[in-house]
């Protein structure tokens, strides 16, 4: 409810609109869409498609961060699960491939959750372990090679389309709806926010804080697995060294742009995904502009700063404008 369609999203929506406008200036065909072979094409679709992995990661990451945690291992988990999917793709059917990859992601999440929730490790250190070890595991699976496959089922997952949308986009949308339904349809959302807001107090109120923490890491692992499978399907191969590289940082960034505090508590799934889209819109815009990709990093930093400034409570002037726009609450 509050987090599915939040009132607080104004800063993010404004940022997205501004970036889209800039993209339109840079590339006049930016908003052009055309239907070809039952599938939409265009820069906007490309943004959605390219943004899928980070959007999926941010869905898990936002829950982890809401419990006052962080998961640095998602990029490595993507590599592991992509490698598993690629290795099995030509010998097994899609259900087996998916089950194996998602199962691996689930186990990775359990491992992280076990370290954090049961052993009480600091999340940043606990997940650093898998961040480092995960790439090694992925390389063991691929035996140091880039594993390619030609299974049409898996290729469809990365390049096919449903209802005019690229399959990855449809999957991300489905995951957003599923996560939202699970989190806000049950009491999970409230209990996660309470756990992140004050774990001691929540524990004393009878909340199973360990179970909450464990479950968000598991979900984060599953989301990362899905992102890994899609990334592998997209390039029809698994590159243990580069799949998902640094994407954990983009996912964290997406969550922060989405207004969820690294100190835990209140979170918003939709805004986290919006954050992922803002990042991808920038990336795509810079590519289309023909500037060297090095600019990407600087521009990204500038936009992040701008969004965070808009959210800063110290900039009360903006808060005043928002209040007036909303017309009600101060």
């Amino acid at each position: 409810m509050t987090a599915l369609l939040p009132r607080r999203g104004l800063a993010q929506i404004l940022a997205l609109i501004v970036i889209l406008a800039v993209d339109r200036v840079v590339s006049p065909q930016f908003f052009d869409l055309r239907l070809q072979d039952g599938r939409l094409f265009g820069s906007l679709i490309d943004v959605l498609n390219r943004g899928t992995p980070v959007a999926l990661l941010s869905l898990g990451m936002v829950l982890v961060i809401a419990t006052r945690g962080i998961d640095l291992s998602v990029g490595a988990v993507m590599a592991i699960c992509g490698a598993i999917a690629a290795s099995l793709a030509d010998s097994h059917g899609l259900p087996v491939v998916l089950a194996a990859a998602l199962g691996a992601g689930l186990i990775c999440g359990l491992w992280n959750g076990f370290l954090v929730a049961v052993l009480g490790m600091q999340p940043i250190v606990a997940t650093l372990i898998l961040m480092v070890a995960g790439r090694g595991i992925a390389q063991l699976i691929t035996e140091g090679r880039i594993v390619t496959f030609s299974s049409p089922d898996l290729v469809w997952l990365g390049n096919g389309s449903v209802l005019g949308l690229p399959v990855p986009v449809a999957i991300a949308l489905g995951m957003l709806i599923l996560t939202g339904a699970v989190v806000r349809g049950s009491a999970l959302g409230l209990l996660i926010e309470a756990t992140g807001g004050n774990a001691r107090a929540s524990e004393l109120a009878g909340v199973g804080t360990r179970a909450m923490i464990l479950s968000v890491y598991v979900w984060c692992g599953v989301c990362a697995a899905l992102a890994g499978v899609i990334a592998a399907a997209d390039i029809m191969g698994a590159d243990a060294n580069n799949a998902g590289l640094w994407l954990e940082l983009d996912a964290i960034l997406a969550v922060v742009i989405g207004g969820t505090s690294l100190f835990g508590g209140r979170f918003s799934l939709v805004l986290a995904v919006l954050g992922a889209l803002i990042i991808q819109t920038m990336n795509t815009g810079i590519l289309l502009s023909g500037y060297p990709p090095e600019f990407n990093l600087l521009v990204k930093a500038a936009v992040v700063l701008a969004v965070l400034l808009l959210q800063s409570p110290k900039l009360s002037g903006f808060a005043g404008i928002m209040a007036r726009l909303r017309g009600t609450k101060p």
């Binding site: 409230l190 209990l191 926010e193 309470a194 009878g206 199973g208 508590g265």
Partner: protein, 514 residues
Amino acid sequence: MENGLDPAPPLLEVRGISKSFGAVRALQEVDFTLRAGEIHALLGENGAGKSTLIKVVTGVFPRDAGIVRLGGEEVAPRSAKAALQVGIATVYQEVNLLPNLSVAQNLFLDRQPMRFGIVREGEMRRRAKTLLADFGLDIDVAAALGNYSVAIQHVTAIARAVDLSARVLILDEPTASLDRHEVEILFGIMRQLAKRGIGIVFVSHFLDQVYEISDRITVLRNGRLVGERETASLPRLDLIRMMLGRELAETTSVRASEGEHGAREVCASFENYGKAGYVAPFNLELRRGEVVGLAGLLGSGRTETARLVFGAERADGGQARVEGAPVRLQSPRDGVRHGFGYCPEERKTDGIVAELSVRENIVLALQAKRGLHRPLSRREQDEIAKRYVKMLDIRPPDPERPVGLLSGGNQQKVLLARWLATSPRLLVLDEPTRGIDVGAHAEIIRLIRELCDDGLALLVISSELDEIVTYSDRVVVLRDRAHVEELAGEAVDVGNILAAIAADSVTVALEAHT
């Protein structure tokens, strides 16, 4: 009384201060006068404007109107640091020093003795040692401040302020987390500083302490000045009347008719229940419609008993029963499942989830009890929140307000509401009236009695013996982490409790053998 002939010019003169936050008028033309060398208590209920006044005087908040004169000269500091520079220092309840730095570093923060751009650690420690010696403290100044008790942290903060040549020292609830002995030390220091001509403003909820230490009292109510009196000539009842603006009904005993407690049905019992190194095994029966008080000094095992009973701590021996059936209490979840509720002493760290709304805080325990798959709908949540906000008179009556923005008394009510919403059979309250104002205090005590009349069993911890005697049917006295005495009926009075706490019985010696 005021004679207007006081020859000494006032040290700090506050005249006609007003301050509004939006539509809320927090202060309206408040005057305050502090003389050199006096200890001046600033009193009022929560929300009376004490904190706002302090923050306006020290420049944390800008003021809307009025002037502040220090030693006859007008001052207008724009920050706490600027206030410190003109000689007005504030030490807050939560000491705002850096616990990870050493005591010496804290004392000389921002003004370390330097040579060639390098801090002279040795010199700094020597000076820190001398400085603290003035305050009767002989501690290792190289150790991290966080290793020391809150009392020592307070003294360090005061020493720092005084050394920064403060002429006005404002102490905001300095004694809230100190035990009796530490309070004595602090009071000794305050008297010594007053003798040196420093004016001290003392904000406290503990009226006993106010009478013990202060020379003069200023009372605020609803952002207005009620009056300034000399402590010695102000009867306590008059003071409470000034603070509340109404007669207190607390003089009437609210204790239920005595002698019938034996007949009440037992709702939870604990046999030989205890944990090594935590609380010695005890027997405790809690009955419906009965308040059991836990009395004892700080550290005597009161909170530990409460945590064992609720399940926040695991017992390593003994048997707990609920309605006669044996149960295992391994975690707070078990306690909640068996219909227990626990309002901990540390509201901020263990009680409220500050960022979440009043509504979410109220439904939290009920939702946890129902489980994930049975979420309370938004409508149910709204109804529950509305019901308890009304029933407990939570203010402001806005269920969507983040609970961290409420006053201490109202946060306590939110916590009570959280447990009442689970329809508990037993409520454990640890210092339910600590740090809240007199009005809410009386209200909470009334509530405790009402809940009990509704058939709830209550286990209540309080340091205030008068209070515990007022509502308890039985009182368990603790000493040295063991239950040493249980008083019931006529025997429940302050004298008997004190005797039990002080008694030099053989149990201590016996324990040493086991």
